[in-house]
């Protein structure tokens, strides 16, 4: 299976008050195995909506989304997906270890393996000191770390990250970049949306730019910047593309 995500003519609209808002206007997108795909776009472009459609949380009005060649609405299709949402205020009565244990149990991970995996993840996101503390006392950055750890609990083949670096300190960002690079080495696929264009430029193999519900352009970062003026950065290119 070379195509991990395949999106064809995807449309999505929702009702806000009396108006129907077209969030996605027929996008086509393919993400291949082992690829790190950066999904860019200004606020309200439809990035999170696209991610929710990829995860089967929303149902397309028209068009089709396939993940690992299957329908993401089916629970089985989501067995090898890890997802980190933009924000989530995890259960304040649970500790990070209990949260990871609960998510691990959903995936049916064997107990001793799960304990080992949780230890690794807690170390990876640098939360050893807070591992036994209820999450009600956590800062936004700590919550993001927990969120990142839970996305990796099942050692996913496809990791979907929605604005993962928001609220993280530089060290945590560097750690996250390293994890993404490790995923690449292990031929895992990463699909992530971000406003941090420098981060995207550093780790992505390919990027797609979404603006007002349309995929304006997609391709390898070097190809997009090729032939442009010297010192052209992804940020400058992005601003040109979205017309700012």
């Amino acid at each position: 299976m070379d195509q991990i995500i395949s999106i064809n003519n995807l449309h999505y609209s929702y009702v806000s008050g009396k108006a129907s808002i077209e969030a996605l206007k027929g996008i086509y997108l393919t993400v291949r195995k082992g690829e790190i795909f950066g999904f860019l776009g200004p606020n309200g472009a439809g990035k999170t909506t696209t991610i929710k459609l990829i995860l089967g949380i929303l149902t397309p009005k028209k068009g089709e989304v396939k993940v690992f060649g299957g329908d993401p609405h089916k629970s089985q299709t989501r067995l090898s997906i890890g997802y980190m949402p933009e924000t989530a205020d995890y259960y304040k009565y649970l500790t990070p270890v209990e949260l990871l244990r609960m998510y691990g149990a959903i995936f049916g991970i064997e107990k001793s393996l799960l304990t080992k995996r949780i230890d690794e993840l807690i170390r990876l996101v640098d939360l050893e000191k807070a591992a036994g503390r209820a999450m009600g006392t956590f800062s936004k950055g700590m919550m993001q770390k927990v969120s990142f750890a839970q996305a990796l609990i099942n050692d996913p083949d496809l990791l979907i990250l929605d604005e993962p670096t928001g609220g993280l300190d530089p060290v945590a960002r560097k750690n996250m970049r390293e994890v993404i690079n490790v995923q690449r080495e292990r031929e895992k696929t990463v699909f992530f949306s971000s406003h941090e264009l420098s981060e995207v430029e550093l780790v992505s193999d390919r990027v797609g730019i979404l603006n007002k519900g349309e995929l304006v352009i997609s391709g390898p970062v070097e190809d997009l910047l090729k032939g442009k003026e010297e010192k052209q950065t992804l940020e400058k290119y992005f601003l040109q593309i979205i017309g700012e």
Partner: protein, 256 residues
């Protein structure tokens, strides 16, 4: 089942770490202690009143725990946005509804077990002859009642806010417990088509009054016949499954 259980366990942790349960437990202890002092005076008839009141407290406190826990489970997942990482995992929306329902039942049953245990100890310490079978029946009916309350609260949480859900559930509880007999009388003595309409409403309403063994326990009547218990169990299972099915369908259509 593994998924449903994992989701339900979150509620158990919440019950253990929140103060609500302990506050109600201490309040229950104080009230039963106070009631047992009243009992020492041996005033004729007061034992029945005390038992009636004690049982009402047990049911009321368990009801409060069941409603407040079950009503907020799904809305809080949506509000805190934890619903997204949960639904991104191999969890169907039916699993989620069932998990929240099971969590509500476990939490309220655990509370009920403790409250009812206290009540039974207080009841048995009265020194009067008491049917243990009746006490067990009261326990079974209590759990069935909590299943019904949790299913209703989960169902209402699809379209009501948490406060509206709790309010409606409380109103429904008091109306069904207090006016069910009058409702039946009204159907019997009214003319058609009013009697038909009232009958329809009467039969679709959740009969929380079926589980009320207050008077039977207070007066130490004979235990219920097996067929009555079987009928109430069947009614509860069917009603809960129906509510959960509708809740699952509604939640499936919800755009998050």
């Amino acid at each position: 089942m593994r998924t449903i259980w994992a989701i339900a366990k979150v509620s158990i942790n919440e019950l253990i770490r929140k103060k609500d349960f302990y506050v109600l437990f201490i309040f229950m202890l104080v009230m039963l202690g106070f009631l047992s002092i009243q009992n020492f005076f041996d005033i004729e008839g007061i034992t029945r009143y005390v038992r009636d009141f004690g049982y009402t407290l047990v049911m009321l406190f368990s009801f409060i725990i069941a409603v407040t826990f079950s009503a907020k489970q799904i809305p809080e997942e949506i509000e805190r946005k934890t619903i997204y990482p949960l639904l991104a995992k191999p969890v169907s929306r039916f699993n989620l509804v069932a998990g929240k329902f099971l969590g509500g039942i476990i939490v309220s049953t655990a509370s009920f077990l403790l409250y009812y245990g206290l009540f039974a100890a207080f009841y048995l310490s009265g020194g009067e002859s008491i049917s243990v079978v009746l006490l067990i029946q009261g326990f079974i009916f209590g759990i069935l009642f909590l299943c019904m309350v949790c299913a209703l609260a989960v169902f209402f949480s699809n379209f009501l806010t948490v406060s509206a859900n709790v309010s409606i559930s409380i109103i429904l509880y008091f109306v069904m417990i207090s006016f069910s007999d009058q409702f039946r009388q009204a159907i019997l003595y009214s003319e058609k088509p009013l009697s038909v309409s009232l009958g329809f409403i009467y039969y679709i309403l959740p009969h929380l009054d079926f589980y009320d063994l207050r008077i039977r326990l207070a007066h130490s009547w004979d235990p219920l016949a097996i067929w009555v218990i079987a009928a109430v169990v069947t009614y509860t299972v069917c009603y809960c499954l129906f509510l959960l099915y509708i809740s699952g369908k509604m939640f499936q259509r919800k755009q998050l």
